[in-house]
Amino acid sequence: MSEPQIELVLAGEQQRYQAGETLSGHYRLLNIAARDVRAVELSVLWYTEGTGDEDLAVHFFDRFEPATRAIEICQPQYFGTQLPASPLSYAGQIVKIFWCVRVRLFLTQGKDLIVERPIQIGNVAAAQEVQE
């Protein structure tokens, strides 16, 4: 049997969004049986990169466990959320803020599988260092 896969599709294959817009899409689990799935988590989140320690916050979160929710595991799971006003995506010098949609699949055998789609919120210009 092939390796389990996650298909994550954003509506319109859009990558750039404005604050307040609705982000929607669906994901689907492939090559896997319900008994092999411990849980699936869908998150719309931002995280920081750069010199500082990573900060992360989740705007939208949905978790289901096949044992507790009767769904067809290989059917597309649709989601949608209105994006917040802040924080906006930002490419700074020592602080960068990235947004993404992430699906995390926990397998009963202990491993987990992650697929994510980066998105950009807002039109903030990339920052350059300025000498004092």
Binding site: E49, G52, S86, P87, G92, G122, V124
Partner: protein
Amino acid sequence: MSRRFRFYEKKRGDRRTGSKRFGNVGEALFFGFFLVVGCLALWAMGSVLVVPEWRANRHFAETTCMVLEKHVGHSSEAESPRFRPEIEIEYSVDGHTYRRTTYDATGLYSISREPADAVLDRFEVGNEYPCWYDPMDPGRAVLVLGYSGWLYLSLLVPGSFIAISTRRLIFIWLNWGTSAERRSVMSRRAAELDPFEESRGAALANVPSDANWTNSPGTHLAYRLPIAATPGWTLFALLAACLIWNGIVTAFVVMAVRTHLAGQPDWFLTAFVIPFVVIGILLVGYLVRQGLITAGVGATRLEISNHPLYPGGEYEVFISQAGRFTLTSLNLFLVCQERATYRQGTDTRTDTCTVYRQCVFTVENVELEDHKPFDGRCRLDIPASAMHSFNSDHNEIGWKLVVRGCVASRPNYERDFPVLVHPPAAQSPRA
């Protein structure tokens, strides 16, 4: 195995970081060890102190005994001698006669001999006294009842070991196999339940509140901007540091000078003290410089036509500089800085990087006089593609107005006035 359990994992970017799972195992072992130690210590203290006293007070039966002999008992186990009263008594239970050397239920030793002597003085050999015996084991008896009082405070030591370790182990257990996203959601929900946590709309997540900016109205424009650090407090902190440093250094200087005066110079101490004296002198110099700036420059006041600011917005700024001196130049800058905090070993470090600096006002050769501060106005444009103010646990993006003054024959000075830039989508009708 290596796929399941890695000692190192790759972080985003090019840095390597420790495996979370490996860290959790190590942390669980560490706190598990202290939990076991705490439980063993609590069990030992309970069996020596709590249970014997509780049983004696609750279950022992009263009878009468005769004191046969008394002496101070010594403990040979401890490094320093320890003492306790030991009284040999004889009593009868159900026709059986028992002989036992005893005093209280715990039989603990004391580091001082006086309390043991004082106890022995209360009992006379040959006299009868009340005593209490264990009905389940009549051979066990005590001459006093009661609890040891403050000794029970020592239970706090193993108790705190158990409480701290258990709390951490529960945290590790709850987070074991939990994704970073789920942990973030759990901590956010916990924060929402905190009654002391300021309730803020989710619309402006990670943007600081502007409450401290809009509670001080201006006299020329809508709001008076707060200064980042009051010069008086900065000067006070510097003065305290200067006094502490030079106070300690003076003690060593006195020791070094005495060796010279006594004709037996300690050159090692003298050489050791010199760099510290130099730093002390530099501190005094910096204190004098800051004092001159604070005392001589006078108050700087900034007012703004609206707040918070928005990208693409136009605002008016009023600047007022008091004092009695000649300003070679006075500049006002709009500055954006990134600030990143990270841990390096056991240190927490913070880096800053200026990513925007625009001069919005400048004036040269201004003569300031008493009661006649310099007043000026200028326009402030926030770039349309500017990033909004942002604040998270380890990362920050902040905007501020910086007043920089160059004063003839005095040190230059800079004063910061933070401002908030909100994201455009949060713009309200007042902006």
